[in-house]
Symmetry: C2
Subunit: 289 residues, 2 copies
């Protein structure tokens, strides 16, 4: 049994990734700083400059990604003077120019999105999860994300009755999730390209709430245990934590010192790595601190 690595590196991914060899990673999954968001931490990339800022970094992602690998980009354009900005559309087109295949666009439906009310729009309850690949054929483990299906629920839900459901939830606090797990093997269905994940309202210091379920889904789908996962805008390190939990090696990179410390604290210690020398890529795992 090999040991798992979870390296959290400090710096701009554009520079840090230069130290990595070609085709190391099986998956790049990340939620970059959105344009004009997180201005106090990332300096706020202007929407007009977003593509030119992103492209060289995406070039590095492409280089360090295996040919059978996937690049999942979680992003959503902001509203500027009442209009959706087009920098994400421009980015998709530019990434294709760079040689990426725009394989799919998954929709992350945020069940509990930010509250608010405006005269000319409703709450924004979805984000894009853009799926890019290098080749037409890539690794995809569809079985790993299968979901309980169909007839089961109808009988089950109906047999419970409304009050039972309410009581069950309020007492246990965690709905039917566990039950479903028990019935998992009964019949499973493949999901669609619309994902339903709740945002985590945890009061973390990291400003972008990236729910664990999101990287988890894509890591399961696009990698095998032992594979390498990269999050070049790691933030508080959610991707690396999840990767580790799922038995994948991971590298997280972030510019913000505060996030680095946070992320290293989050990543679970790997007992075996104690007896190993530091990563040859100059990465320092939390353990080596």
């Amino acid at each position: 049994m090999k040991s798992l690595q979870a390296d959290i590196l400090h710096g701009d991914c554009l520079n840090v990734l230069r130290r990595f060899p070609d085709e190391k990673f099986d998956l790049v999954v990340t939620s970059p700083p959105y344009a004009d968001r997180r201005t106090n931490t990332y300096g706020g990339i202007k929407p007009e400059r977003y593509v030119e800022w992103f492209l060289p970094r995406a070039g590095e992602f492409k280089r360090v990604l295996k040919k059978t690998g996937s690049f999942v980009l979680n992003i959503k354009e902001k509203v500027e003077s009442g209009e959706r900005h087009t920098y994400v559309l421009d980015l998709i087109l530019a990434l294709r120019e760079q040689g990426w295949l725009w394989t799919e666009e998954y929709v992350w439906h945020k069940r509990n999105c930010h509250p608010g009310k405006w005269p000319n729009r409703f709450r924004d309850a979805w984000e894009r999860c853009l799926h890019f690949t290098r080749e037409h054929h890539f690794k995809m483990n569809q079985e790993a994300v299968m979901v309980p299906m169909g007839d089961w629920k109808e009988k089950r839900l109906r047999s419970l009755g409304k009050n039972d459901i309410i009581r069950f939830n309020s007492q246990v606090g965690s709905g039917f999730g566990k039950n479903i797990a028990n019935w998992k093997d009964r019949d499973l269905a493949f999901p669609s390209n619309v994902l339903h994940f709740a945002t985590e309202c945890g009061n973390k210091k990291h400003s972008a709430a990236f729910p664990k379920a999101l990287p988890e889904w894509f890591i399961k789908l696009f990698t095998d245990p032992g594979d390498w996962v990269l999050d070049p805008f790691a933030g508080s390190g959610t991707t690396c934590v999840v990767a580790q939990e799922l038995g994948r090696n991971s590298v997280g990179i972030d510019k913000i010192e505060e996030y680095i410390e946070l992320a290293r604290r989050e990543v679970i210690e790997n007992p075996i790595s104690m007896f190993e020398k530091p990563s040859k890529y100059n990465g320092r795992s939390k353990k080596t601190l």
Copy 2:
């Protein structure tokens, strides 16, 4: 009480609309023939030519739309050789060049999407509902589409679809507990920009199943009773039927003779129009046939 009109016109909307005066309509809501789809009826517009085909028609939409009006475009790009085609992105950018404001992108989550299994993608369960306006300030009746919160299980959960509930719980791991608390004290809540409608599998002759709920939602949201609604690719006339049911005047246009007949049969007869002369726009309502 004024009479309602529901005119179904035959022809290419590019030509037919020339007969209409400026700023007649309060809402244009339509689902145009997608690129390479409906080849046997619409001739199948090639993706590469889609923008240049669409743009002059959109120019007419803009002319006949009131300044406070909205243009809702339901569309989704196809997969071509394993990749999402970019013609919809190009179209958004081109429409902005034409002077439209890209105000919002609603997601229509199709709960019952087409089945199928492929090695590198899941079933496509969503389409875009692009919302364009002429001005930053436009008519929007948010209260008209509020969602009842009283009996949450019936209304709210059904609007999501049963499988979604299962998936929420199994993916997120937490049930409805939090939401129940939020809903308890409210009767109505505003929706988000993610819409959950099932496609109608009715055995209609029209190949594109445009569920009534979709135009209904946008008609309620962006028009008042007595307003004028246009569907330039009317198909079997769903938009006009819904508009009439909601007390809005409507004009539907389609190239296909068969759809015209179908649509005129669907539109409910307007008793008052019997005593009126035909529409001055050369439109023949079903009644005047």
